[in-house]
Amino acid sequence: MTVVDLPARTHPDERTIADGNDQRKRRRRREYGLFALLVAPNLLVIAVFAYWPIIYNAFLSLTDWNMIAARPKFVGLANYGRTLTDPAFHKTLWITVVFTGLIVVGSLVIGLALAFLFNLPLKGRGAVRTIAFAPHILSGAAVATIWAFIFDPGYGLMRALIEPFGAEPPDWMNNSDWALPGLVIVYLWKNVGFAALIYLAGLQSLPKELDEAAAIDGASTWTRFRSIKLPLLAPITFFLLITTVIGTFQAFDVIAVMTGGGPGDATTTLSWSIYNEGFQAFNAGRAATLSIIMFVILLVVTTVQARVMERRVHYR
């Protein structure tokens, strides 16, 4: 973001000379001109690549269009009515909520635990930190390909690990009960390193005095964690919560490569169903409707989180 120094506000008492006032006004106008000039390129890019698609998408959601026909047919709110009353959509929402919930909770809990581990003065922790963070940088499609191999019931790594114990590994991606947990494992593997890194940064910047004081007063490790460290880490948790919820809601890459929303509809999340409606069924109108619904859900979730956290989170 462009940062611009706006003229400092002056106290009314200082404005004694009328001439100076005029001059200041002129200067201010000039500075606003400069301000507009400096932000214009950024604003234009955002308008063209962020706001315009949203507006256009909202328009498409009111149409019936197969992307090939010469023009969309206006259908009003019919797509919304149809989507909101469709049992398949309800199931999709439920799957999305479960999927997001598991990944968000998992990433935060495991990430925090790893951060504490990485914060200990152990040998080789630098290397381990790097290894834990690495999956986060890999592209989703690559991660999915690796895990498709690990989970493969015929040739997979999982088979090699489990079979010596006499057990048959599940056919992860081709079984409705295992496919969603399988995807959660993959996304956790990919996300946890990031959460751990952010938590670690938070842990290292915590003021030592509070913790030491509590220790001297005889507080147990658990109490110090619960009453001092966790509350102090709240801004970090808040940040991770919002980014993980949004990121998981939009998760697509791994699903596309590993399950294609299946078997049946077992892993059809909101983002997959948008793809399916848009690019497999060529129903641009209904895909746009689903996108708007996702947009609204994320907006509400983020607003609520922000409101709640405003009261609870203490930024230092």
Partner: protein, 441 residues
């Protein structure tokens, strides 16, 4: 509130303004997708050809195109690999929205119809010559693209499913060296095949495809006496289709002899499964990967014979200049030469779509040496065009294979699954009905 209303109005007005100027005009001329022309082919008319063929088949496309480019002075064809059949369709649609158009695109059995229905394809009758057109191509395969006397694409990489079997495993199991004649016969072979060990476990009889398995299943439904639809009237919830689904469900869940595979042909080539129903176009690929003797034969019957044609035809886009259209047509004429059609078959296993290609010496020699290459040609008499709902209903194929996944993965009752699939297909049929009745019937 008034503020909100004003904003909404402005938003809608902006949307409507864009709608007025942003869409495809049926007769507009669109630009070509970017690419590069090698120096020796400069100053020719460039033709962009979007292809879904990679791997072994992709190399064969490249060679055919190179041969064309070197065969004359006026046209340069540039192949652009775009991914799967679905990817090509998506990208063509996206290109048209962006006012761009490739000149030729390979469209699958279930995607060309939507481009035809929405006036995105160039009618081809005007380009036909003695060596390119009706009579030149195999009648059934050519006829599938003819609607009311007008051709909208021409066959290229056309296929049917055939049954591949692991001859080594069959020998070990003490089974005859041939594919089963009926599905019941295959079922009776389950115990023998299970005795064969492969990769540390007993051999499974058959693998069903997780994605796009509805193409093979189209034939299976006919073989059990049913249909996906009669016209657009959905019949997948009726006896024949349910019986076919029930046969497969029992194979997976009651006998443990079958399973759903992400890639049945990979599993087959790795020796994990005894037989698969796979496109004849996979022949070369399977043959190059398998470390055992691969056999091939007709897809079994049950109460009836019948298999679905499939694969890709080439359509010409309508939104391109006359010059590009003429140039593109010369490439289609080149592909219709018997020796080129025959060569394509020898390199891939796809059906020879040109009648005279079957007389080609190279192809005859190949079939004599490797009879597998002749299976699909001989089986063609049982082949027919698929039921209309799968061809014309947008996403009907996905709805059907998603239903099949529930049967394979969850042991769902076919009757129940197909009742729910039928509901979705009816809604899909309703959407396309007006255009279908206007343009096809």
């Amino acid at each position: 509130m008034s503020m909100l209303k004003r904003r909404m109005f402005l938003g809608l007005a902006a949307g409507a303004t864009l709608a007025g100027c942003g869409y495809r005009s049926v007769d507009a001329i669109y630009s070509q997708p970017a690419g590069s022309v090698p120096k020796q082919y400069a100053n020719r008319t460039r033709v962009v050809f979007w292809s879904p063929y990679g791997g072994v088949n992709g190399k064969a496309v490249d060679k055919l195109v190179a041969k064309f480019n070197d065969s004359q002075q006026d046209v340069y064809v540039e192949v652009q690999f775009q991914g799967s059949y679905d990817d090509v369709a998506q990208k063509v649609a996206a290109a048209l929205v962006a006012k761009q158009a490739p000149d030729l695109a390979v469209l699958s059995d279930v995607t060309w119809e939507r481009f035809f229905l929405n006036d995105a394809l160039e009618p081809l009758n005007g380009y036909f010559t003695d060596g390119f057109g009706p009579g030149v191509y195999q009648e059934k395969l050519f006829g599938e693209y003819v609607v009311k006397g007008q051709s909208w694409a021409v066959p290229f990489a056309r296929s049917t499913p055939i049954m591949y079997y692991n001859r080594d495993a069959f020998a070990k199991a003490g089974l005859p060296d041939r594919v089963p004649r009926t599905w019941s016969e295959l079922r009776s072979w389950v115990p023998e095949l299970a005795k064969v060990q492969s990769g540390g476990r007993s051999l499974r009889t058959i693998a069903f495809a997780k994605i796009d398995g509805d193409w093979q299943f189209q034939g299976n439904v006919w073989q059990f006496g049913g249909a996906y639809s009669k016209g657009l009237d959905v019949t997948i919830d009726e006896a024949g289709a349910v019986a076919a689904g029930e046969w497969q469900r029992q194979m997976v869940h009651d006998l443990g002899a079958a399973y759903m595979a992400s890639s049945p042909s990979t599993d087959f080539a790795n020796g994990l499964v005894g037989v698969i129903q796979e496109s004849t176009g996979a022949m070369k690929t399977i043959g190059s990967k398998a470390k055992f003797k691969v056999g091939a034969g007709f897809i079994p019957s049950e109460v009836a014979a019948g298999i679905a044609t499939g694969g890709g035809g080439i359509g010409m886009l309508r939104n391109i200049s006359t010059e590009r259209k003429q140039a593109a047509a010369t490439f289609l004429q080149f592909l219709a030469l018997p020796e080129n059609s025959a060569w394509w078959t020898t390199q891939t296993g796809y059906l020879p779509v040109v009648n005279k290609a079957r007389e080609d010496a190279e192809l005859k020699k190949l079939i004599a040496e490797q009879p597998n290459y002749g299976v699909a040609i001989a089986q063609l008499e049982n082949a027919r065009q698929q039921d209309a709902i799968r061809l014309y209903g947008r996403n009907a194929n996905v709805q059907i294979y998603t239903g099949l996944q529930q049967i394979y993965a969850d042991n769902a009752q076919p009757k129940k699954v197909f009742a729910s699939v039928a509901g979705r297909l009816e809604a899909i049929g309703e959407e396309v009905k007006r255009l279908y009745e206007e343009k096809v019937l």
